[in-house]
Symmetry: C2
Subunit: 282 residues, 2 copies
């Protein structure tokens, strides 16, 4: 598969690079970003943290705003950030062009409904196609972890829980914990997945915890000044499900913090260290 | 003077806040951002680093992309980021709406030419009006340093050199060192200041070094993969002038780094420590 390099910048002695490629599962051209720490090489490949961003984001938000590279360089971890939906003129968008559905809002699932199902296959893209590309083209190992924010926190939890053999650890900032019962999730799932709520459970972290024997360690940070906390995020539902099913979840409520990247940059180093403890423990 | 708070977010136990106010020297409404470190209070006021951004930027670029808050919080330094030009419907812009002149490109000078001189008075705004506002409304001391990037590096150098009693230290990333002889500077100076090049010297760091007895410590970082290095930035002219006039300049050429915020975030902690060594040495 062809990768086209579209930017590169040295940062903390490593590299931030953006690439475009044609996605066979999304049927469109996609861009992703990768941070490669110093000394990553074929002789010294590094593990990869996949970062899934939230509504309206692209591959750029985390890479520009999260202040993650100093620590990732020190730990020797690559970070890959995909886009948040398929893109391009051929890709259908919400008729209202709302921010919470359609372009920029792929919800990391495989759509089953028309007109979405041709392109909106972000679950397969993130779990299969993108790691295949990354591991074929960059000096990385097959050790992976997954993290994300908000819609991307939902993505990290669901993808990590469903693929314990592929991800050593899972973390999230301000995740949509129980999408089946909140406005963002209900809207997206109804359009992408249809009215059969049995299928919704396949993309709902609280439901997946009940259905799987989860042993992957999970770290979640949530600010208590987050305006979406009560209506959209509901971390208490995740904590309750984790407790009832003996899931190794650490949920930290951070006083005074909101939903922004200022919150993420404050605690990203803890997340990187958490993932490193799983990725580098051989 | 009235300040209107337009956003606030907790970050590294401190606060990032944005304010709007009516500027009497710019004759328009302006927005600035401030980072206040933890524990800044009337009883424990903190010194202020003024950050001047480059072409096309607003108060947001540095605050979102520079990854400066962890270190600033640790050191106990506030950071203030103004906009890069006057703004608003009444403010004239370049007829071509180019990125390097007019809105987003105030060059931190006081324009003398029509139609610019009514609003484009960024020098007085940054040196007098804004610090007055900051020191009247926030828990800060009157100790100040100044730093900036590209056009803002030019601003930091010229403002710092001309006001040694007001700024304890000066630093810059990729500054326009000798604007009178490069395309960005010539275009801006011709429009804002007219054809009399004697006036240009008042806003040219190389010329100011020759005219002043500079004792303020200066730190400059410059990437050698910066696409603007040879045509627009010319750090060698600054180094030569500093050498000939015994100016305490440290110019560091950083191999492989470009003109982006990825470069800035890599070395911002060095700059913060440099300023702290001057601001906190009582």
């Amino acid at each position: 598969m062809d990768l086209t390099n579209v930017s590169q910048a040295k940062v903390f002695n490593g590299w931030h690079k953006q690439y475009q490629h044609t996605s066979s599962v999304l049927h469109c051209d996609m861009r992703f970003a990768i941070f490669l720490p110093p000394h990553a090489s074929a002789a010294q490949p590094v593990p990869v943290l996949y970062w899934l961003s939230g509504l309206t984001c692209t591959d750029e938000n985390f890479m520009q705003k999260a202040a993650a590279f100093q620590k990732a360089a020190e730990l020797g971890i690559a970070i890959v950030a995909p886009d948040t939906s398929p893109r391009g003129e051929a890709v259908p968008d919400d008729v209202d062009q709302s921010y919470d559905f359609g372009l920029g809002a792929g919800f990391y699932l495989n759509a089953t409904q028309e007109p979405w199902k041709t392109h909106y296959q972000m679950y397969s893209y993130v779990v299969d196609e993108l790691p295949g590309l990354i591991e074929a083209n960059f000096p990385v190992t097959s050790k992976r972890s997954v993290a994300g924010h908000s819609m991307g926190g939902h993505g990290a939890l669901t993808i990590g829980i469903k693929n314990p053999e592929k991800y050593a650890s899972i973390s999230a900032f301000s995740p949509i914990c129980h999408p089946s019962i909140v406005p963002w999730g209900e809207k997206a799932f109804r359009h992408y997945l249809g009215e059969d709520k049995a299928l919704w459970k396949e993309y709902d972290a609280v439901e997946l915890i009940k259905a799987h024997n989860v042993t992957t360690p999970i770290l979640v940070d949530q600010g208590d000044a987050d305006g979406f906390l009560d209506d959209q995020l509901k971390p208490e539902t995740l904590q309750q499900a984790a407790k009832e099913n003996n899931v190794p979840l650490e949920l930290r409520i951070q006083p005074g913090y909101d939903h922004s990247y200022f919150f993420i940059q404050t605690f990203i180093n803890d997340h990187l260290a958490f993932h490193a403890s799983q990725l580098l423990n051989d």
